[in-house]
Symmetry: C2
Amino acid sequence: MKSTKKILLSESEMPKQWYNILADMPVKPLPLLNPGTNKPLLPEEMEPLFAKELTIQEFSGKRWHDIPEEVLHYYKMYRPTPLVRAYSLEKMLDTPARIFFKNESVSPVGSHKLNTALPQAYYNKKQGIKHLTTETGAGQWGTAMSLACKYFGMDLTVFMVKHSYMTKPYRKVMMNIYGSKVYASPCDKTAYGREVLAKDPDCTGSLGMAISEAIEMAVTHEDTRYVLGSVLNHVLLHQTIIGLEAEKQMEMAGYFPDKVIGCFGGGSNFSGVSFPFLRHKLTEGRALEAIAAEPASCSRLTNGEFKYDFGDTAHLTPLIPMYTLGNDFMPEQIHAAGLRYHGGGQIVSQLKKDGLVSSCAVDQKEAFKAGVLFAGTEGIVPAPESNHAIAVAIREAIKAKESGKAETILFNLSGHGHLDLAAYEAMV
Amino acid sequence: MKSTKKILLSESEMPKQWYNILADMPVKPLPLLNPGTNKPLLPEEMEPLFAKELTIQEFSGKRWHDIPEEVLHYYKMYRPTPLVRAYSLEKMLDTPARIFFKNESVSPVGSHKLNTALPQAYYNKKQGIKHLTTETGAGQWGTAMSLACKYFGMDLTVFMVKHSYMTKPYRKVMMNIYGSKVYASPCDKTAYGREVLAKDPDCTGSLGMAISEAIEMAVTHEDTRYVLGSVLNHVLLHQTIIGLEAEKQMEMAGYFPDKVIGCFGGGSNFSGVSFPFLRHKLTEGRALEAIAAEPASCSRLTNGEFKYDFGDTAHLTPLIPMYTLGNDFMPEQIHAAGLRYHGGGQIVSQLKKDGLVSSCAVDQKEAFKAGVLFAGTEGIVPAPESNHAIAVAIREAIKAKESGKAETILFNLSGHGHLDLAAYEAMV
């Protein structure tokens, strides 16, 4: 029996900087546009909405960004996270492939979302902001932001997509335990929510709508800013802590991955695990395939169109150059609510366009089947979102078996499924 | 800001033996009795019910027991677990006390129960047993045993106390994901269950009843044995892995605890964390208070009577010399279902009688308040059971503040509360 499964870093080995892939992209993404003027958006135009430091990061071309001491302190509540060699899964699949996963489910909120929630709360706090607003789809992001705000002593209002609010009631309880206010979106707390409800009182919401409500509340209240859990460059930047740790850990294991896989919603999880490895592809030409695992019902990168589009339904965000299914696209009610988003974001879309990352679509039945197989071999019941990455890792491991190649596969286990068991009950 | 929070051991530093406190007890416990003859029970009398190796461990006076290679292999899926210095909690309480907790919630099933589920499945498998039966209160034990059986390729039937089955439906889903059959107890699958239901069709069950049903099914089916998640000596033995790791980790931190605290149901969690430290009290006379945190509604050690009593309601177990509230005691329906048990078990009861461990009762309101405080400072939402230990740790930290003593407090975070959020919703 193989004896070492977990590859651990000590707290002192935790990376002290985040990696900005913009610095190394051969083709820089097109700029965000101000929808009023159709001119490139300036950092200062984002300041009414976001903390200043975050807008600077959003537009930065600098390769490395120092992680503030206070953020490192809270990262140490759960980081560095383990890298695990999935020997039991390999054995079950009878594959020559080496399968590794980065276990972000050990975070106290159960997902990778805390990696960016902490710096976002910190930079806002530092600027003197007192209240924050945000939206949440599956509830993972809202939970992470709730804990981050609790740590930094700020208050938070969360607009939770109504469908998730109803089907995942315990996410709300967890946010309440951390002290946040949670509204089912669309709701009557915003003009946009009231407008939607007037047209369709039974509307169960979407991530795009919830974003619109959270933005509206932020810009219409004093000392209030908005925070977003994915899509934006500064969010992707913060999430690179995942891949930077994994890079050190893979080196300790003695392998460089042939395939790096992350599920793809707004892009933060996929970017977090893959960008630090992609750096070696971009700067040294190392062979590596980074695969975004999309839900079949919402596969922007795989089946969307590359164009300028809004990030939300009410057209309050800048115009983003990205693969999109259209900002009015109403995705099917899949259980992986965290992946239900119409757009691919600025950076990942450009990388996809240039053939530097790939994507594929996974049906949710295949995803849950993969999750159950993983639970029975590696023990952890994964989040429905993470199941998409596991499904693609399994596809690749089976391909490796067919071709007889001892490939090295790395995927990100973005979260656990303890609060998604109703979905398993329905699907298994 | 304090910089190191987690004290980690590498997989190679994981203890290779369990510790048996019986070897060091100044007064040995009275023997178990065969209720038919009133004579001391012999190991072979337990063999129709338990795997032979487990009955040997049950009666063993040997100080150290080797952990089998196969068990070590699966332990490494989640062990060694972190020891954490709770700096944020200390700061919030403004206490001079140093508070440490052992984080058993990182196990894939979310609690310490896997520590004994794995060896129990292993020894049964080794003996050629194909089917196992057990009961579960809160569902933590049933979940752990389900995963252990999945790993070792055995099948498992779980009798889940009906009240928990109804209030914690997702525990059942998790057991199903791992491949187990789960029945709400009392049920019509056993003669005893049918008898209870005939008298009271609305009976919501108790741990004692569920034990009776699981035992009946084991002894009336071929190639089938019963496994128990607490109370028995071999279970306590397996759980000492917690305290043995913590002992090394506390040494790395540079402190020996003044107080070691565990919540107390059947005793496995309390014994697991405290026995390896108690060894130094028993053999070297080191000062140390080991405190069992009982629920006020079911406080056997604190308010029970020391006498011979059955471990179950149908009188199928041996007679156990222990503090008990009576085997027909029907505990209040508290949210910490894992602590609802009438007896204190043989070893811990004897230690309590001899003044070597202490106990105290915690009201569930105080417990949940402690849990929410802990979640807001250390991030993790604890299991309702673990909240009892946290409440006592907080009491001790406040006492330390009042007396100005920089005491060292260690408690076991036996599990997380992700599947207990309905309880938080009701209590917070």
